[in-house]
Amino acid sequence: MTFTRRRFLGLAGCTALFPAPARGQGAGPRVVVVGGGFGGASCARALRQLDPRVSVTLVEASATFTACPFSNAVIGGLRELSAQQFTYARVAADGITLVPAMATAVDPAAKSVTLADGTRLPYDRLVLAPGIDIRWGALPGYDEAAAALMPHAWKAGEQTLLLRRQLEAMNDGGLVVIAAPANPFRCPPGPYERASLIAHYLKTKKPKSKLIVLDAKDAFSKQRLFQAAWAELYPGLLEWVPLSKGGAVTSVDAATRTLVTDFGKHQANVASVIPPQKAGRIAEAAGVTDRTGWCPIDPVTFESTLQRGIHVVGDAAIAGAMPKSAFAANSQAKSCAAAVVTLLAGGTPAAPKLINTCYSLVAPDYGISVAGVYAPSGGQLADVPGAGGVSPANAPRATRAAEAVLAEAWFHTITGEVFG
């Protein structure tokens, strides 16, 4: 880009001040949002709420959103997938133009998004919230065909149901293996919640079975809380193998459900392989990914540091200390919307303050959480010192039960805020 930032902001300001009729249909500045998840749908709605003059288009190929948080409960037989699914009717009712199509390309110079059918959507600012894509082939043997046998279930939907059906079809006494990836990846506590709720299913339905978690890491989110709960609830049933003890899976053979590590082979009856990930593919097409496959951003505006005029929120973004979670995506999306509206009006966005809260279920009545507060510092979104942390280590079961209830309340609230 040859624009200087100052010149760019100046132009954006002029655009916003331009009389509305000149743009046709009374439209103000145009913001296109790609991706209708917790980040994108939140951002689209927040943009309309903050400045109704802004014309907002949400590009999302799926007519129904299937939420990942609580999808481990679907796998564990505690919840139906339909409880995870939401429509965009209320989003559209906010005056947001819904485009049910796949965005395939972005031209940052011409400021347009290209859809699968070749249609071009012009924008003044673009927000990408594409979530994740699987890095097929990064784990040898794990391709799309392998995922049909060893489900990742890391995008909720058919994969979630597939894993659940495999567990239901498994004989008592079977071996379930979960492969957890190295950082960074979507939902850091997710593999361990999955292990917990599968262990709960096995304990109650197939108690002679065993579950092994093969981990490419030596440490993980809420680790002490998970491990204390596992020792209490699932002794002898759930085994976690860290990197240093040969946990890293180096290849898989889907046909035989075999997971290979440097230390040996595990032949599973059911295997869930959570593979390495990257930003959703439109991010790469837009030129906003770096060599890590994720998207570096300005921590105040969420604008890409690689392409002016394109903002990235949610799992796809490199958001410093913030985890790739639904809460974080929602929190980022609202701050990004505020920054976009301010930039379109020629102003200077204020430094945001962001929050994350993630609940995990270890059992239906046993919840734990991690929380954090974040602010821009040194070009990153950094933890605000002294804030955040996990649930207390030695809390009574009543506290765990209360957190399980709060987890459900959180899901109900955030999905209501984003889609309701």
Partner: protein, 129 residues
């Protein structure tokens, strides 16, 4: 965290407090994140308290109590520690000025299907063990 970084965060906090409530009628820093748990939409029901329209002093007292540990919390004790006095004042003033909302169910929720999951074409047959 280094002293310089901590100082930088301190400065950022002061800057945020000075500019809050922000230009363009936007909520002060941090306010937007609260609706991750505290419902803002009038259509959302939740056991978690709605912040819009609460007394300013009540919000300030609650946040200060969570922050100091005087008031028990599940996650708010951990979150309140990330906010300065000035930020809490700005948040409290902003939420107190918001109109109270009503409550109804989430109409976006996809209705539960009547039948089971039989006949799903995505189903992959499992090999016999």
């Amino acid at each position: 965290m280094g002293k310089a970084l901590a100082a930088a965060i301190g400065l950022a906090s002061i800057a945020a407090a000075v500019t809050a409530p922000t230009a363009f009628g936007q909520p002060p820093p941090g306010a937007a994140a609260c609706s991750g748990c505290h419902p803002a939409s009038a259509r959302v029901t939740s056991p978690v308290v709605r912040l819009a329209g609460l007394e300013r002093d009540a919000i300030v007292r609650a946040m200060q109590g969570f922050r100091s540990g005087q008031r028990a919390g599940t996650v708010m004790d951990r979150i309140a520690k990330g906010f300065t006095d000035d930020e809490i004042q700005a948040l409290a003033a902003w939420f107190a000025a918001q109109p109270k909302g009503g409550e109804e169910g989430n109409p976006a929720r996809v209705p539960l299907p009547k039948g089971g999951e039989e006949g799903n074409p995505a189903r992959v047959p499992l090999p016999k063990k």
